[in-house]
Amino acid sequence: MLELAGIGRDFEVGEQTVHALRDVELNVAAGEYLSIMGPSGSGKSTLLNVIGLLDRPTRGRYCLDGTDVTVLDGAARAELRRDKVGFVFQFFHLVPRLTAAENVGLPLVLAGVEPDERRVRVARALERLDLVSRASHRPDQLSGGQRQRVAIARATIMEPRLLLADEPTGNLDRHSGHEVLELIEALHASGLTLLVVTHDPEIGRRAGRRIHVVDGRVEEQVP
């Protein structure tokens, strides 16, 4: 599903060029569960951003479902991102003035889905994540775990094939973190390709495939 060949990503920091990713080769089949680990600043988030089409590699070729996405323009990449990729962030990134239901429905709004269909899909997602009683609450009225569940509902409402989670439990207590992780893994079990960035080896070990990013280079750990 994902084919990365010779991917490099450079950042200009002052006079210096920082190589956040160097010559990354990575293939991921549909339905796989990968964890991406590494020390902070190693480039694991950059890798996730490149895979999620938020960032553009400086070098190399990246095919998503057989389409070379490195040559696409911003609008086309945005459309692919909308339809195929779901994001879960460490800091949830909910819109504070919108209710839980509105946050969940935001991707549908952006995609221009009719309100009637939207209501049905949002209701289904809220039910699946046990958030029905919180539907009209704003993010500041929700607990951390509930917020991340809203974010997961939002990430999956477009029925993407790829779910990218960047430290999804990093801002949660142990109990909520565990809950969120189980939800995400349940989604993987239902067929989603799952990539989780984490620095917690305990979480990393749960994945079927483990990737280590060190100094911009990818190393695969064989279990």
Binding site: T46, N49, G52, L54, D55, G74, A75, A78, E79, R81, R82, D83, V85, F87, F89, F91, H93, V95, P96, R97, L98, E102, L106, P107, V109, L110, A111, G112, E114, P115, R154, M158
Partner: protein, 401 residues
């Protein structure tokens, strides 16, 4: 994203930042209100002057002795003329089918006295037709009688101020007035002339034209007021006047004919331009409001950087982000404009309460023009912050919390 959703999203955003929304609405409202009020003031001035002039009668022509030599130049007010305009000339005009009434005017200044009081006053010699032509109101008594204008009787009609000054509150009717070395019986007093530019009508003494000619010892008329049978006949009446005078003055075109229409049109043009000018001044405040919108929107974009990053991560292309911020700016401008129209209308009503004679309502084009201008300003100055938002790097934007 459907239009309704976009409006809803923008509305929520505006609702979420009330202070900034209120400030921007206020700025826009002040701009629009000042356009509406200033053009309203200009229009009030225009309507006032136009009202004054049309109360003189739009079917009037004024004949002056002497000819303006240059086309379009001002007519000579006291033109040196080879031949006087006489009472006979004026009466000859009445034979023309397009002409309804004629009022010859002789004007001069003499000392006027009665019951031991004396003052200098303007005396106007004219005929009975002056009354309908100038729509004169009589308070008491009657106006100068009709009859052969060549043989005027020693009668006079007084303006209100003259009556009050010479008779000190008592009725002047039937009293005798001394005009220079002549004596006249007062047969009428002019009523309120209403709103008229010719305020000095209150200070006039009106006498039969032949009396005035004898008083000032001149056969020459100061001017002749001519009323056409109908507004549409003004041009025919003008030609008739010129032809008649030419025939009587040995083929010389030695009079000037002015129509009220021409004067009216000139004033209309001048005051219309004035309205546009003050409206333009108001429009400047709209530009200022636009710049304020730009500033505050730029702050909003940096405040909401993380949200913009999120929208991009959720698949909003740059165009959509641009559209969202433009919609916000547009809504702000529109809301401010509507508020401004209300404030403007309120202001006009308030002014109207203080000056009930004037109508301060803005011209019909002002409201839609201010609305469009406000929307234009909102979008124009909203464009820069919106582009700024659309060009954010999603990764960097998301990293901001």
């Amino acid at each position: 994203m459907t239009l309704a959703d976009r409006l809803h999203f923008a509305w929520d955003a505006l609702h979420g930042f009330r202070m900034r929304t209120a400030l921007m609405l206020l700025a826009m409202a002040i701009g629009v209100a000042s356009v509406v009020l200033l053009t309203g003031l200009g229009e009030a001035a225009r309507r006032y002057v136009m009202g004054e002039f049309s109360s003189l009668g739009t079917d009037l022509l004024v004949v002056l002795p002497g000819r303006s030599e240059t086309v379009g130049g001002p007519p000579p007010l006291l033109g040196v003329t080879p031949r006087d305009l006489t009472l006979e000339d004026a009466l000859a005009l009445l034979r023309h089918p397009a002409i309804k009434r004629v009022a010859p005017l002789v004007i001069g200044s003499v000392p006027v006295s009665a019951a031991g009081r004396e003052r200098e006053s303007t005396v106007v010699g004219t005929t009975a037709d002056f009354e309908p032509i100038r729509r004169i109101e009589i308070a008491t008594g009657r106006f100068l009688p009709a009859g052969d204008p060549r043989r005027g009787r020693p009668l006079c009609v007084l303006g209100r101020t003259i009556e009050a000054e010479l008779f000190g509150g008592a009725s002047a009717l039937g009293e005798t007035l001394r005009l220079g070395d002549r004596r006249c019986r007062v047969i009428g007093v002019l009523g309120s002339t209403g709103r008229s530019l010719d305020v000095q009508l209150d200070e006039l003494v009106l006498v039969p034209v032949s009396t005035a000619q004898a008083l000032f010892d001149t056969p020459a008329l100061f001017r002749v007021l001519v009323q056409a049978r109908d507004r549409t006949l003004l041009e025919r009446a003008r030609e008739g006047i010129l032809a008649t005078v030419r025939a009587r003055h040995d083929g010389e075109d030695d009079v000037t004919v002015i129509t009220q229409d021409a004067m009216l049109a000139t004033f209309d043009r001048i005051l219309g331009t004035l309205t546009l000018a003050v409206g333009g001044i108001g429009a400047i405040s709209l530009v200022v409001a636009g710049i304020l919108i730009m500033n505050v929107m730029l702050v909003a974009v940096s405040q909401r950087t993380a949200e913009i990053g999120l929208l991009m991560a959720l698949g909003a292309p740059p165009r959509q982000v641009l559209g969202l911020f433009l919609t916000e700016a547009g809504l702000l401008a529109l809301g401010g404009a509507l508020l401004g129209l209300a404030i403007g209308a309120l202001g006009a009503a308030l002014l109207g309460a203080f000056y009930p004679d004037l109508d301060f309502s803005a011209p019909a084009w002002a409201a839609p023009a201010a609305l469009l201008l406000a929307l234009g300003m909102g979008l124009l100055f909203g464009a820069l912050p919106a582009r700024h938002a659309a060009r954010l790097d999603p990764v960097a934007a998301l990293a901001r919390r």
